[in-house]
Amino acid sequence: MREPAPTTPSFGLMAEFDRPERLMESVRRAREAGFRRMDAYSPFPIDGLAEELGFRDRRVPRLTLFGGVFGAAVGYGMQVYTNLAFPIEIGGRPLIATQAFMLITFELTVLFAVLFAIGGMLALNRLPRLHHPLFDVEAFHLASADKFFLVIFSNDAMFDPGKTRGFLEGFAPVRIDVVEHTEEPE
């Protein structure tokens, strides 16, 4: 989900909830109301929350598959190349010994699949990142303790500072905060 650029007046609106069910319910109703650009934060994974948010990103699994295929090709190709470039006769073993090559091929398949998965996940999340506008909201650190947050981004087509605040108040959250953009360095 693309986050708002600093050209919008504010980053978004954040509602705080004290129970995971309330967050799930609010996300569902916000989706029904037509909001698309939003995100949810909780101290622990909530089953089904990603689906409620409309998260259908398949890029990390695809990157992992690509990494695996790439690793297999590199692993096998490297062994074929080195054996052809520097042939050594060992006990009548064929030069291209597929059986023996399988170990390295397998290892590199796993290695590259994992590297692509982790690297792809970090890059797509734009991590590592030193600061995020949400960190300016004082209560947000509770997202790693016992509170649940819903943020509606200001670049949502339906976003309006006043109306959206009224809409969020309908969920009876603990509190609502306006999230401002982080100031650019001078």
Binding site: G91, Q99, A100, M102, L103
Partner: protein, 357 residues
């Protein structure tokens, strides 16, 4: 209720009669040509995988929580009650040891192997295995409060004794063949057979639930584990390049057995590949079809492990193999259906007893 039970009873009786007749016929033919008893050994190794593999899975279920408990535990625990049948099926093998195993006449070199591979010691090891497995199964079913200690200690003991007896049953067919991974390789076949059978029973007995998807993932795990052990043993034998181990593979790659090899590989790897896709893992129809494919592949694999060593007339051996697979299969399925009912009523009785102190 009785309307439903009566046809079931009749079905069970017919299956037992048919299975018993088929087994007796197989054994009678093997009595004429003793080396054809290899067919019985192959069927024995396949069908005993159900209770033996289930014992391993049930102990793991007791220690590892998750959806697989509700999905597979009832059928898994029922499969444990088939252990006595497995012991009975071992008796013809004890009787036919000299025909099956070349080491009965004495092994070359003698020494420790000469003392280890003697008929009485072979029988004693198998009996000890069934005694320990039976005790574990009894404790798992009747002493549920002890399940954590029984399952933790049981898994360690089980892996040691199971890998020991399968080396006796299958690897010692060729006394010159050595593979330290053989026990774990056969253990992976046994657990895969048990898992595929339990998945089949689970999906045929009741409507699939939300957590049916874990069954597909479990089957995939079992197949990958099998592929790992099967390939490891092959790779190590290939790299070592010693005549005894190469011969073992060569005997199993000649003529019709080379087709069997490809079929064994395809019937495990094609399901494993299909299980990578989530619609296949979620689809009960897919899972039933793939479990059947896996089971037939493993039945073929047990035959492939045993029969190439048996130098009897191939046609007769194949007839005995078919009869033995069908006979032990019908008896096992009938016993399994009975065991599911027996265990369910036992648990219901216990729940009632607990409610009224």
């Amino acid at each position: 209720m009785s309307d439903r039970v009566r046809p079931l009873r009749r079905w069970l009786r017919e299956m037992i009669i048919l299975g018993g007749a088929s087994s007796v016929l197989a054994l009678a033919l093997a009595a004429i040509e003793p080396r054809a008893l290899g067919g019985w050994l192959a069927a024995y190794a396949f069908w005993t995988s159900l209770p033996i593999g289930a014992l391993c899975l049930v102990m793991m279920m007791r220690l590892i929580p998750g959806a697989w408990r509700e999905e597979l535990a009832p059928a898994g625990e029922s499969a444990l009650l088939l252990l006595p049948l497995a012991l009975i099926a071992a008796l013809p093998i004890f009787a036919g040891l000299p025909a099956l195993y070349d080491w009965v006449g004495g092994v070359s070199g003698g020494g420790f192997r000469g003392h280890y591979l003697t008929p009485w010691f072979f029988v004693a090891r198998t009996l000890l295995f069934y005694a320990v497995s039976g005790t574990l199964a009894f404790l798992l079913v009747r002493r549920r409060d002890w399940s954590t200690p029984v399952a933790s200690a049981g898994l360690i003991v089980f892996v040691l004794i199971d890998t020991t007896v399968v080396i006796d049953w299958l690897m010692s067919l060729d006394p010159e063949f050595h593979s330290s991974g053989f026990g774990l390789y056969v253990l992976s076949i046994q657990t895969t057979v048990a898992l595929a059978a339990l998945i089949l029973v689970r999906l045929l007995r009741a409507e699939p639930s939300e957590s049916t998807v874990v069954l597909g993932s479990l089957l995939l795990t079992a197949l990958l584990l099998w592929a790992y052990f099967a390939f490891m043993q092959y790779l190590i034998s290939w790299s070592g390049n010693f005549p005894s181990n190469v011969l073992w593979y060569q005997r199993r790659a000649g003529g019709v057995w080379s087709l069997a090899e490809y079929a064994i590989g395809a019937l495990a790897l094609a399901p494993a590949f299909l299980l990578l896709f989530s619609p296949v893992r979620r689809g009960p129809g897919w899972l039933i079809a793939l479990s059947v494919a896996v089971l037939s592949g493993k039945a073929l694999e047990m035959a492939w492990l045993v029969l190439p060593t048996v130098s009897a007339a191939l046609a007769l051996t194949l007839v005995v193999t078919m009869l033995a697979f069908a006979g032990l299969g019908l008896l096992s399925v009938a016993a399994f259906v009975w065991a599911m009912h027996a265990l369910a009523s036992l648990l219901a009785e216990r729940a009632e007893g607990g409610a009224s102190p």
